[in-house]
Amino acid sequence: MKAAVIVFPGSNCDTDCWHVIRDVMNVNVDFVWHKETDLKGVDLVVLPGGFSYGDYLRCGAIARFSPIMKEVIKHADAGRYVIGICNGFQVLLEAGLLPGALLRNRTLRFMCKPVYLRVENSTTIFTNHLKQNQVIEVPIAHGEGNYFCDERTLETLEGNKKIIFRYCSENGTISDEFNPNGSLSHIAGIINQKGNVLGMMPHPERMSESILGGTDGKKIWESIVSYVK
């Protein structure tokens, strides 16, 4: 398996993702600068967190015009794998690879803290090492992670089991109290129709080593690595 971490100007979780893929998962991984136009046949593309283009205009709105994004779209259209984390999720929405939008957190403040997620669909290539309804702990760090979409899109997401993670309590209870940013239907992560493009606000790369407080996030990397291998 081979992975690529895309580097936009302003990406800042690029080295974190690269580190986990290389040093924790022992997978071949390269950085790809956003002005490049060749993904060199990688299996997995990671759009990392950060502030691409300083989040000017709107999070992810400028990054989607970077030259490499044409290749990322082709890569996704060909059925290969893409994961967008935090700002990467925002870029995927702006690029139209996933439906919906991310609004400012309802507190209007940036928020960095560990949250609990309930696995809503454990049959995807990104979640096959997790159990259905399993509760995992993964941190969030964003100012604009409040997921929103129209009613019909929500129905489609729900009907087709495309909502992958929901914010919840430690015991898996879903309620407003445990929704950190006001996301519609408590959505923390969704997958596309074909099931090869995942977008999520929480950062699995920050919870992939026990020294950092837990390894729940590692399960997501393990799922994709074992699937591709």
Binding site: P9, G10, N12, C13, T15, D16, H19, V20, D23, K35, G49, G50, F51, Y53, G54, D55, Y56, R109, F110, M111, C112, K113, P139, A141, G143, E170, H203, E205, R206, E209, I211, L212, G213
Partner: protein
């Protein structure tokens, strides 16, 4: 049609408005052999301001750095304090750490969001200027009482500003400290710290060398923002200061992120001769300081400087403090390498001049000479003053405290709840959750611990860092307060399991022209010096911020210490919180009848009075050695220092390791019969920590303490969910946690 803007004549009023004394003006004329023109006057005024020249503090600071370095022969400082933009210290394995703390108080008081944001931006530039990759930030903040609307506004703005800059650039803000007190009303303190890591051989110096080497201007464009900020920082804040808002700069963290990556990429090419950021006094400071350090001349032409506004005159271009700009001295012949890298990152990189033989800084505008000054005279030769110093009139009376007049409270439960509800003591999660404190995936101890702890990937090492200063202690006894600031920050680092190795400091005081303020300054520094010598933590550099006064008076003397600790093996780290019920709790260190200057006295009796606790440096050092020795053997399950609020608050804090799942404790005193109960529970006697150990390690701990001459007291056990302290305190842990966690949010909502 060309338009020439006539420059103002240099008159007596103009000189005075630039804060230049008649004596200084005569000296300028002597240096130049003539009278300065308007541009030159401006240049001298910023370079000779307190902010850039340390004219009122230099003699005191020199003694501090010299004494501590001489007393620490084994320390591994790689640059002398003051010689470069930040201190650098060798940590072994070919690695070096570069760290510094700096104030941005006045800008933050006027415009909290941008003031704090650009404070963070500035300190980050100081670190990557040296060739180090910044890896973390911390902040030490002071505001007036949080019940006042204006202070909520300031806190909200400052925290959002720090978050805006640090989060965007991708640096974790891993901790810091904050106090709320009337003394900071109208003059809040924002001290920003940044730490970077590099290979030893990668250090870049801020000096210009080699006649003919090109001088590049890189980064953002120059505008009129922040005009004369350094001079602004060297005055007291008044009602009219709000009109100085143009003196506050506007930050762009995205641009700085690009600049950071471009500079570090450029470093690898070997094309850099020297580099300096344009911070205070912008282009002026960076050109004359690099030339002065390199003992050379420098020439620049302002027409080449990228500008964001039209019609800027040389005076404005030289004094602008627009952010995210750097001056890079490049090896001749390597210009193309530089230009290609900055083009990749979509940044300006313009050759604006050259290094020259001689010693002059020559500034041209389109070929016309507009300023010509010996570089060294600007950077080094400003007049230095030994200010008058007298014991403040308030001191004697304020230090008096008749313990017999202080009635012990009837209900200690209420006292504990009140202290946990004090925003200076309570949980700071409302603040640090706005900072991305995990990016870079190195943060091993999340904020809330005694010290921040990050790992160094590819090694076993850990870097611990703590900031500290108790301003009330420093007000009531500057010498003891300065000593305690160093001791407590060292203790914090030690509690995490790391050995203190060096400090940086940010000395916040009032107007140094007032003899009693200058006395506070001298005494605090003396206390710091003595502590640093004993702990073997040399001063690597820092910053002085004077004129922290509002119409209500001076702030408390606040010498903020940033203490660096090193852990050779991160597996020997110790968390600050109890981990499991059944463990045994010990108090290490002796408790005295000390309630002077305590949070208890302030909160319960409304008194800011008495002598702060006395600190015995030898006892403190013995405690450090004992903990570090125990950490190697994995003796402690947890270790937390006692500070504001004393023993009862410290025990409560140890319960709150996991949000929503507080532990409990059952404590019975077998000592302290001769102590006041309030002193026992809430006194702030120094050199004490609270540890928890597994039952099987009790004997080992007691032997270890005995060996190091540290008094120890077995207090009791960690329990599931209730805090019981003898017959005095009995409260449900959930209630305690609720109060502790809600204190700031409820005031901010």
């Amino acid at each position: 049609m060309s338009m020439t803007i006539s420059e103002p004549k240099v008159t007596k009023e103009l000189i005075e408005r630039h804060g230049i004394t008649p004596e200084e003006y005569d000296y300028i004329c002597k240096i130049l052999g003539r009278e300065p023109n308007f541009t030159e006057l401006g240049i001298f005024s910023v370079m000779w301001s307190e902010h850039c020249s340390y004219k009122n503090s230099k003699p005191v600071l020199k003694k501090l750095t010299k004494t501590t370095i001489a007393a620490c022969p084994n320390s591994l400082l790689l640059v002398k304090p003051g010689d470069e933009n930040a201190g650098v210290i060798d940590i072994g394995d070919g690695l070096a750490i570069c760290f510094k703390i700096e104030s941005h108080n006045h800008p933050s008081a006027i415009e909290p969001f941008q003031g704090a944001a650009t404070g963070v931006g500035g300190i980050i530039r100081d670190i990557f200027t040296m060739g180090a990759r910044p890896i973390l930030c911390m902040d030490s903040l002071r505001f007036g009482k949080l019940d006042e609307k204006i202070n909520k506004h300031l806190l909200r703005g400052v925290v959002a500003g720090i978050a805006h800059y640090g989060n965007c650039i991708g640096l974790p803000t891993v901790g810091g400290e904050i106090y709320f007190d009337e003394s900071y009303e109208g003059n809040c303190l924002v001290n920003a710290l940044c730490l970077g890591l590099m290979k030893k051989e990668d250090m870049i110096k801020g000096s210009a060398k080699g006649a003919g080497n090109p001088v590049y201007y890189v980064g953002a464009t120059t505008g009129r923002d922040g005009l004369g900020g350094a001079a602004f920082a060297s005055r007291e804040l008044t009602e009219e200061s709000k009109e100085d808002r143009p003196a506050v700069q506007v930050g762009d963290p995205f641009l700085e992120k690009l600049l950071l990556e471009a500079c570090l990429e450029l470093k690898k090419t070997g094309a850099i001769v020297g580099m300096q950021d344009m911070g205070a006094a912008g282009l002026t400071c960076s050109t004359c300081e690099t030339a002065s350090r390199g003992s050379t001349g420098i020439e620049i032409d302002l027409v080449k400087v990228p500008k964001r506004e039209t019609g800027m005159v040389p005076y404005e271009i030289m004094l602008s403090e627009s952010q995210e700009r750097m001056l890079v001295i490049v090896e001749k012949g390597k210009e193309k390498i530089v230009e290609a890298i900055f083009e990749k990152w979509d940044l300006h990189a313009v050759k604006i001049g050259e290094v020259r033989d001689g010693h002059l800084m020559k500034v041209y505008e389109n070929g016309r000479l507009v300023a010509e000054i010996p570089a060294r005279a600007l950077a080094e030769d400003g007049l230095i003053y030994n200010r008058e110093s007298t014991v403040p009139g308030y001191l004697k009376e304020m230090q008096q405290l008749d313990l017999n007049s202080i009635a012990e409270p009837a209900d200690f439960n209420q006292v504990l709840l009140k202290l946990l509800d004090d925003p200076s003591i309570a949980s700071k999660a409302w603040i640090y959750e706005q900072y991305d404190h995990m990016v870079r995936t190195d943060t091993v101890f999340l904020p809330g611990h005694d010290a921040a702890l990050v790992r160094v990937k590819g090694t076993k090492k850990g870097i611990a860092l703590a900031t500290d200063c108790n301003g009330l202690y420093c007000y009531l006894d500057p010498y003891e307060g300065g000593k305690i600031a160093v001791a407590e920050s060292a203790r914090n680092v030690v509690c995490s399991g790391a050995k203190p190795i060096a400090i940086t400091n940010c000395l916040n005081f009032g107007n140094p022209m007032k003899p009693d303020i200058f006395w506070q300054f001298q005494k605090c520094v003396e206390g710091m010096t003595d502590a640093c010598c004993v702990f073997q933590t040399p001063v690597t550099g820092g910053n002085v911020s004077f004129y922290n006064e509002s119409p209500k008076g001076a702030i408390y003397p606040t010498p903020t210490i940033g203490m660096l600790g090193l852990m050779e093996n991160i597996e020997s780290r110790i968390p600050s919180f109890f981990q499991k019920a059944g463990d045994t709790i010990y108090l290490l260190g002796e408790t005295l009848n000390e309630i002077g200057a305590s949070q208890y006295l302030l909160n319960v009796h409304g008194l800011k009075q008495g002598l702060p606790p006395r600190l015995d440096l030898k006892k403190e050092k013995a405690l450090h050695e004992m903990i570090l020795s125990g950490a190697q053997e994995k003796t402690f399950v947890s270790c937390h220092d006692l500070s504001d609020g004393g023993l009862a608050v410290a025990v409560a804090e140890c319960l709150f390791g996991k949000i929503g799942h507080p532990l409990g404790a059952r404590i019975d005193f077998e000592f302290g019969e001769n102590l006041r109960r309030d002193a026992l529970l809430f006194g702030e006697t120094q050199s004490r920590v609270l540890v928890s150990v597994e039952t099987k390690n009790e004997k080992f701990l007691e032997a270890l303490a005995t060996e190091h001459g540290v008094p120890f007291y077995k207090l009791g056990k960690v329990t599931e969910n209730r805090l019981k302290i003898d017959s005095f305190i009995d409260i449900d842990s959930t209630q305690l946690e609720q109060v502790y966690r809600q204190a700031i949010p409820r005031r901010m909502s």
